[in-house]
């Protein structure tokens, strides 16, 4: 069962971006305690096998009828086996044959697999299709059966069996090298080398082999483990060459004498397990280091982001500029956020705050824009209203009153009732926000059946009606479609239909047009405006685009570095942006979007 795991599963994630991995991998590996421990065990096992004659004075094959099945003791360190042979010396010499056999298989597999992988990956063409055919063929054969057949024909030689097994395992290396090489073949640095007249041989050895070196070592240690397992398995069944001491032959003898001396299987079993575990841990540790060093850029970026927010939170604690409005509302606001703070506790005990002291209120029936650049904390604020912060995120302080109830304190079951039913969500990126495995119809009807208690037929009818309402030309067809069959604009319409399906009071739209084409953006904004007027729903729209605000919003909150800097009616903020950050956002519109030009006139 392990043999295929190696040939198929490993290749893709190991090969990903291996170029970055070359640097310092060995040094990093030596700092991984588990990896070093595994490597030390392997070295010890190899040394014990190599220096067997120094560690024992017994001949591993010396049969002695007088000392059959003796327990461990003075004469024999680990006792004797069913033929009176010294177990300790057989274990040491057995290591020699077992390890050498597995090494041979690994060598053959690596030689065939790497060579054919390089040729197929670098030159492609007919060789590639032939090689992939042979690979499929080899992988469809159960190794053990082939080896049994080969043994029947060629006799029980350890070396022959291991060479054949090496051929069977070659796909493990072939796939790995082929994927890596065909990925790297058209990279710029390879092109550059080719253009500057470097020979193919040099390109392969200098630029390509270095890329696959570490993954090949990982694969080799796994293949080595599998070769040991299979070889020991065959010997254990009694199909090996009985004249040489191997761990498998020892197991065979131990199993025969299982009733009389159970510990005979323990020593070779322990040797096999120890070697196997050490090889697996070695491969895992090397892979962990490889994957980590393959993405240092991401970690640096994350560190930079944290630094930025930290700097932001340390900024001057100025008050929010509030534009006074004639006649304050009679009704209590639908959503009233006060002094909200959101943070992510770090492993070192500190807390990275992404939102500081945000207060804003949203009146019934209004469209409220929450505007700010990316990283200002506006999406985090929106998610906190739904209590769907990414894992690790917490509301540290403040309250979120929805219709009088503090959402930061209600139990999860109550929150689940509110979600979808009273507070709904329209995401930013339509294609990644639909479950790819279910039809649109299924995803639309599931919440309606829970929230509105509709029957299957009723939910279907309502879903079709909603799809029509959001402007989908053929609701029946879309209902039966899967997400990957829709365009981005269509998917966003579906998500909007989903958001309003259970008659919510508040819809939180997180940059609902950012991921769409410009023409479709306008259509989606129109749709939101229509729905808002038709259904009378309150909308909190998160955006970084003043054009969207101008199109839709009654009131606006401007957010910068985790706090609200300016707030008021859209009209008065457009007429008189007071905070420098708000003004800079207006400047940004001028730069990026001439279509929204008219508002430039309102600038002071």
């Amino acid at each position: 069962m392990t043999e295929v795991a190696a040939t198929g599963v490993l290749a893709p994630d190991v090969t990903s971006d291996m170029r970055a991995a070359r640097t310092h991998l060995a040094r990093r590996f030596l700092k991984n305690p588990l990896g070093v421990a595994a490597l030390s065990v392997l070295v010890l096992i190899v040394l014990a096998a190599v220096f067997a004659p120094l560690l024992t004075s017994y001949n591993p094959n010396a049969v002695s009828v007088l000392s059959i099945l003796q327990g461990p003791g003075a004469g024999h360190l680990l006792g004797t086996d069913g033929a009176g042979r010294d177990v300790w010396s057989r274990l040491l010499y057995g290591g020699r044959y077992t390890l050498a056999g597995a090494l041979l298989a690994t060598f053959v597999a690596a030689l065939l697999g790497i060579t054919s992988g390089l040729v197929a990956g670098y030159y492609g063409k007919w060789f590639e299709s032939a090689a992939s055919w042979v690979t499929t063929l080899l992988m469809a054969l159960p190794g053990i059966v082939v080896l049994l057949a080969a043994r029947a024909v060629l006799g029980p030689s350890l070396w022959t069996v291991m060479i054949i097994f090496g051929v069977l395992l070659a796909p493990a290396f072939y796939r790995l090298v082929f994927t890596a090489v065909s990925g790297v073949r058209n990279e710029l640095f390879v092109d550059a080398a080719r253009v500057s007249g470097v020979s193919d041989f040099r390109i392969i050895s200098r630029h390509i082999l270095t890329v696959v070196r570490a993954p090949v070592i990982i694969q080799a240690s796994i293949v080595f483990g599998i070769a040991i397992a299979v070889q020991v398995g065959l010997d254990f069944l009694g199909f090996g060459d009985q004249s040489i001491p191997t761990w498998g032959n020892m197991l065979n003898d131990g199993f025969t004498n299982l009733y009389r001396d159970p510990q005979l299987v323990v020593w070779p079993g322990l040797a096999v397990v120890l070697t196997g575990v050490a090889l697996t841990l070695f491969a895992n540790a090397l892979r962990d280091e490889l994957e980590q060093s393959a993405r240092p850029s991401r970690r640096r970026r994350a560190a930079a982001a944290v630094a930025a927010t930290a700097a932001g939170s340390a900024g001057p604690d100025t008050d929010t500029i509030v534009h006074e409005e004639p006649g304050s509302p009679a009704q209590a606001p639908l959503l009233d956020i006060e002094n909200l703070a959101i943070g992510y506790p770090q492993p070192d005990g500190s807390v990275t705050r992404v939102v500081n002291d945000v207060s804003l209120d949203i009146r019934r029936g209004e469209v409220h824009g929450l505007i700010g650049e990316s990283g200002s904390g506006k999406t985090q604020t929106a998610w906190s209203v739904l209590r769907l912060l990414p894992s690790g995120g917490e509301i540290l302080d403040g309250s979120i009153r929805f219709d009088g109830e503090d959402l930061s304190k209600v139990p999860e079951t109550k929150m689940r009732d509110l979600r979808g039913g009273r507070i709904a969500y329209i995401p930013q990126e339509p294609m990644s926000n639909l479950d790819p495995s279910f039809t649109i119809g299924n995803q639309l009807t599931e919440p309606m059946r829970i929230k509105l208690g509709l029957s299957k037929a009723e939910a279907r009818a309502r879903a079709l009606k909603l799809l029509g309402q959001v402007g989908i030309p053929d609701p029946e067809r879309t209902f039966a479609s899967y997400p990957h069959e829709l365009s981005g604009g269509m998917a966003q319409r579906v998500l909007i239909a989903g958001a309003v399906s259970c008659e919510p009071d508040l819809v939180i739209a997180d940059e609902p047009t950012t991921a769409l084409d410009v023409t479709i953006q306008a259509e989606i904004l129109d749709l939101l405006r229509e729905l808002q007027q038709e259904l009378g729903v309150t909308i909190l729209i998160v955006t970084h685009n003043f054009g969207v605000v101008a199109d839709l919003c009654d009131r606006v909150s401007v957010m910068q570095k985790g706090r609200i800097v300016e707030m008021g009616s859209a009209r008065s903020i457009f007429a008189d942006p007071r905070h420098p950050y708000t003004r800079s956002l207006f400047d940004a519109i001028l730069d990026e979007s001439p279509a929204r030009g008219p508002y430039a006139e309102t600038r002071p």
Partner: protein, 313 residues
């Protein structure tokens, strides 16, 4: 979808044809003097020649191959050289035993891996670490060693199960359970190690997807999000691992059947190859090839069910 399935099936049949042809030519080319092998060193030259003639071994290899292929297509694979039992009978009687073990192991591994993988993905912490350690052990320790251990403690020690033999389920259910449990466990552990790891990482992966937040925002219960949506999306990669391991599982069954003395295909394989019973070996090659093709077909269909994108390709 249908054309895709048909194409995969045809591809499988072609592959089987290539394997069978290679196996036939190689096995017969290497078989040597068959009559001598069967009759032993004491037989006279004349009887050996007669035996070879009876077996039709005097005609050229290629014509023998085509005649075998013609018969094989009608389901006639000849008879064993040593027992004279028809190959089809010899294989069919043992096939269901091996299939019981292999499919038992597949089902047990699928269920256990799903539970362990999801658990590790959701809980993290010590549960995750325990499962990681278990995975390393399961991957590194050969199945037959686990089998020996199980026999030693649960059959010989505690007498909960039978150490050897096989009782058909139709004959006596209790006996069947006592004979198949340990072999199925021994076969499953290595598979669970690989598949649980895959389930774990694909569940973690799926939970990070945007649509999970959107589904939650619709007010779906955590149970529905997890078991209906996340698990279905995580199922595809896990199924691939399971499928890739299937061929290895058939190989593993050979050794496990030997350890537990179970009269399945593995025993036929061991016997036929050690005696050099070429007709029987050829029958095995065909049987295993057909099983592998059928299993791959079922896996393809399941993948199509789980992943709508796979249906169009």
């Amino acid at each position: 979808m249908l054309t895709f399935t048909v194409r995969r099936l045809l591809y499988g049949v072609l592959l089987l044809f290539v394997i069978v042809t290679l196996a036939y030519l190689l096995l017969y080319a290497a078989a040597g003097n068959v009559g001598r092998t069967i009759l032993g060193p004491t037989a006279t030259q004349a009887t050996v020649a007669l035996k070879n003639q009876q077996l039709g071994l005097n005609s050229p290899l290629l014509s023998r191959y085509f005649s075998w292929l013609g018969h094989a297509l009608t389901g006639n694979f000849g008879s064993s050289w040593f027992t004279n039992q028809p190959v089809t009978t010899a294989i069919l009687t043992r096939l269901q035993v091996t299939l019981t073990l292999v499919f038992g192991a597949v089902i047990v591994s699928a269920v256990v891996s799903a539970v362990l993988g999801v658990w590790a993905a959701l809980r993290g912490g010590w549960v995750d670490r325990v499962i990681q350690v278990f995975s390393v052990l399961g991957f590194a320790v050969p199945g037959f060693l686990i089998a020996v251990f199980l026999v030693r403690y649960f059959a010989l020690g505690l007498h909960w199960f039978k150490p050897t033999g096989y009782v058909p389920i139709t004959y006596y259910f209790g006996g069947w359970v006592r004979t198949v449990t340990l072999p199925v466990i021994a076969l499953s552990i290595g598979l669970v190690a690989g598949v649980a790891q895959q389930v774990r990482s694909s569940v973690i992966d799926a939970l990070r997807q945007d649509w999970v937040r959107t589904l939650r925002s619709r007010g779906l219960s955590e149970r529905s999000v997890l078991f209906k949506h996340v698990l279905r999306n995580a199922g595809g990669p896990a199924l691939s691992v399971l499928a890739l391991s299937f061929v290895g599982l058939l190989g593993g069954a050979v050794i496990i059947e030997e350890v537990f003395g179970i009269p399945g295909l593995g025993q036929v394989a061991v016997l036929a190859t050690s005696e050099g019973d070429v007709p029987l070996v050829m029958g095995l090659v065909v049987a295993i090839g057909v099983i592998v093709i059928l299993v791959n077909l079922v896996i393809d269909l399941l993948q199509g069910f789980l992943n709508p994108k796979a249906r169009i390709s």
